[in-house]
Symmetry: C2
Subunit: 108 residues, 2 copies
Amino acid sequence: MIERRDIFQAIADPTRRMIIQKLSGGALNIGQIVEDSGISRQGIAKHLRVLQQCEMITLTQKGREQICEARLEQLDKVVEWVNESRKLWNQRLVKLDRFLEETKKQKI
Amino acid sequence: MIERRDIFQAIADPTRRMIIQKLSGGALNIGQIVEDSGISRQGIAKHLRVLQQCEMITLTQKGREQICEARLEQLDKVVEWVNESRKLWNQRLVKLDRFLEETKKQKI
DNA sequence: AAATTGTGCAACCAAATGGTTTTATTATTT
DNA sequence: AAATAATAAAACCATTTGGTTGCACAATTT
């Protein structure tokens, strides 16, 4: 198993999705993310590291605080991939249409 | 760790994304999916089970073959979640705008 | 100066993941 | 009837994951 650090893995975990949504509302420090999360500070910190490696967030030091900011542009890649699949799917229907057309002709 | 079986986990693995893209082009049996995948039949079969549990594909018996079909509707959930995050993000900018407006007023 | 706050690092753990191989069963061809 | 093809089921394995706890350390407050 190669350690994968991509956007798809970033959003695979519900805790990380929760973090992303929290940060979508604005930058927060780690403590603020931990609040009401039901997970320990270290647990959250681990997820943040993953998100950083996936370039989903940026971390900037500010005194003793660490400010987390979301970088939602990465999510475009996900939407792109979904659209690619849908495109193939639609082409598939076109192919089926052609097949049905030809079958019709043969029947006549 | 609770065993999560949702669409986000379904697309987290590159092999599974490959399978979904293959199936987006049309239904296939397991052997056809295995072709050129570089992974054993059993490996693919495992991924298919996960995808089935996530309701990303349907498996139907046809003689001794098992036909796999993609169910792309599930991908809507992913796009929905991305849009939700983006919405929050945009609201955040609105809030910032208001803040800047008020700061301006105070200066005058 | 002392207490508090925000954090990082390391070790640890159980469970899940992503693969493999082997064996057995069923359907189709020949 | 025998050979082949398509699959399922199970056992196994190393690595990753998602969490924990304990300790150390720097920056702020008091």
